[in-house]
Amino acid sequence: MRRFQNSIWVYGDYRNYFQNRVTLQLLARAVELAPEIDADVCAVIFGHSVDDFVGEYIAHGAQKVYVIDHPDLKTYSSETHAALLTHLSRRFSPEIILIGATDFGRELAPRVAKRLGTGLTADCIRLSIDDNGLLIQTAPAFGGNLLAKTVTPACRPQMATVRPGTFQELPHNDDAVGDIIPVTMPEDLPVPRARLMRSERIPKRAQRLEDAQVVVCGGRGMGSKTKFKKLFELARLLGGEVGATRPVVYSNWIAHDALVGQAGKHVHPQVLFSFGVSGAIQHTAAIADADLIVAINKNPEAPMMKMADTAIVADANQVCSSLIRELKRRIRE
């Protein structure tokens, strides 16, 4: 019998549970990676009255759940959670810790990595295991223009934050069973030096360009302000937002806050349409993170066409109108 069992930990980030599925997504990926290093999949959760979440984690793939449940943990504090995660990691020595790249996770993870003296890769979009059993962490740099593969060869645990939406959660399995391991709250927990005084949920507001899942970008090739307006109708049909290049905002076809590029917004939609855009680096630097790029340009040699998944050689206006017509026909509300 082996003395040590490897484990992959997923940090339970349950605030905003119904919007924030990243913990479940990470459990699903951990379930896939675990056999390659002969590991258990564990979730870790800190809070008060968190039984429901513990059940959810087990139903979504966790074989073990470490729980620290205490009334003092009612407020979500990165300083406190950092202390607790460090404490547990020292005690149980996981091989890997995965944390969702929410705002909270991205503040928590570096603090824990620092305390444990180990490496951390931010905002990964791919995770795999290499022949030596090391976790290969792939993350974007330069706004997605480059991807970097990183490993942490010598230090443990290997730590990564992972962008929400990267992996698909497993279906809820009511029959799943897992071990629940309650851990007592350490007594020497320091008093937080940053205290949450107030926290309100931000009312639902208009979608921001930088958060949109679909972005329709228009360039000078749209021809005129009137023709450019069609892009708004297309964006509305797609539930997306309109972005623009610099000449377009300079000509006042759209407000300046729609500028996409080095001097404007970075976007990372699932689908990006690019109409009549040449693809200057100052613009493309901010769109390379899009999963699917559809470019429409009459010049097949335009740099924008070279970086697209599909390059449509045609008149931008006509394609826009035709796409609007076809979408109206196909989408039945």
């Binding site: 503040e107 990595a113 974007p140 926290s199 559809v294 097949p300």
Partner: protein, 274 residues
Amino acid sequence: MRYHFVVCMKQVPMVSELPWDSRSGRLRRDLADGMMNPACKHALEAAIQLKDRHGARITVLTMGPVMAEEILREALAMGADSGILLTDPKMAGADTMVTSFTLARAITRECPDFDLVLCGCHTSDSETAQVGPQLAEELNVAGVAYVEKLDLQHHTVRLEREADDFLETIEMDLPGVVTIATQRYTPRYASLGGLQEAFDRDSITVIDAQGLGLTPEQIGRNASPTRILDVYSPAAQKENIVMRGSAKKVVEDLLDQFGDQIAAAIGKDLKPNG
């Protein structure tokens, strides 16, 4: 009381040039034109606004190649009082763990009386957003990330930030470290006259590893727990399908080939007739 703020800033390459050494996975910074990382500029602006209101001394700090001195000069022209450049070939290739360690060492040695350290929320090149929180750990002081608004109140600072759909008000003890988000503190421009004057001023201290009392084993790539295996362009992996023909035809082709992916993104069915 007169506050002492330290603003950490990094010189990043202009995106129009991305000269990477593909074998080492490191950026050939010697080849790229540099600029002040945008989020760091917001951090400096926040510091200057606090200085205008409360009175303070602002030290700007960067670790980078010799030419990173440019961004310190720019910061002086915007309103900082003095600059520290940490530069040494042995410091190159540091990951966030080692960067925060080295910066913390400089702060404890050169600015032991600091009240607040301000960082950008992230850099445009490495995009980790890790250096700020790790600096707080290293200095063993309070730390809060993604701050939108700061209000000094003697020995504490009241902070507002948006995090994961929540608007939070936080009270943080001083000294502390914050990272500044890019929504609110829109940076001022450095005037040309100011820039000229900043280049003539004698207010930048240059320090190497030895000057910080650090050995080569403690810094740079040597000491970093992470290793970059490979850096590549995702564009190279795209299929780049070309479609031609009438507007009607290309739209049909597009929806045939990518309809499912587009449907998933918009959460609606796009099948032709069913």
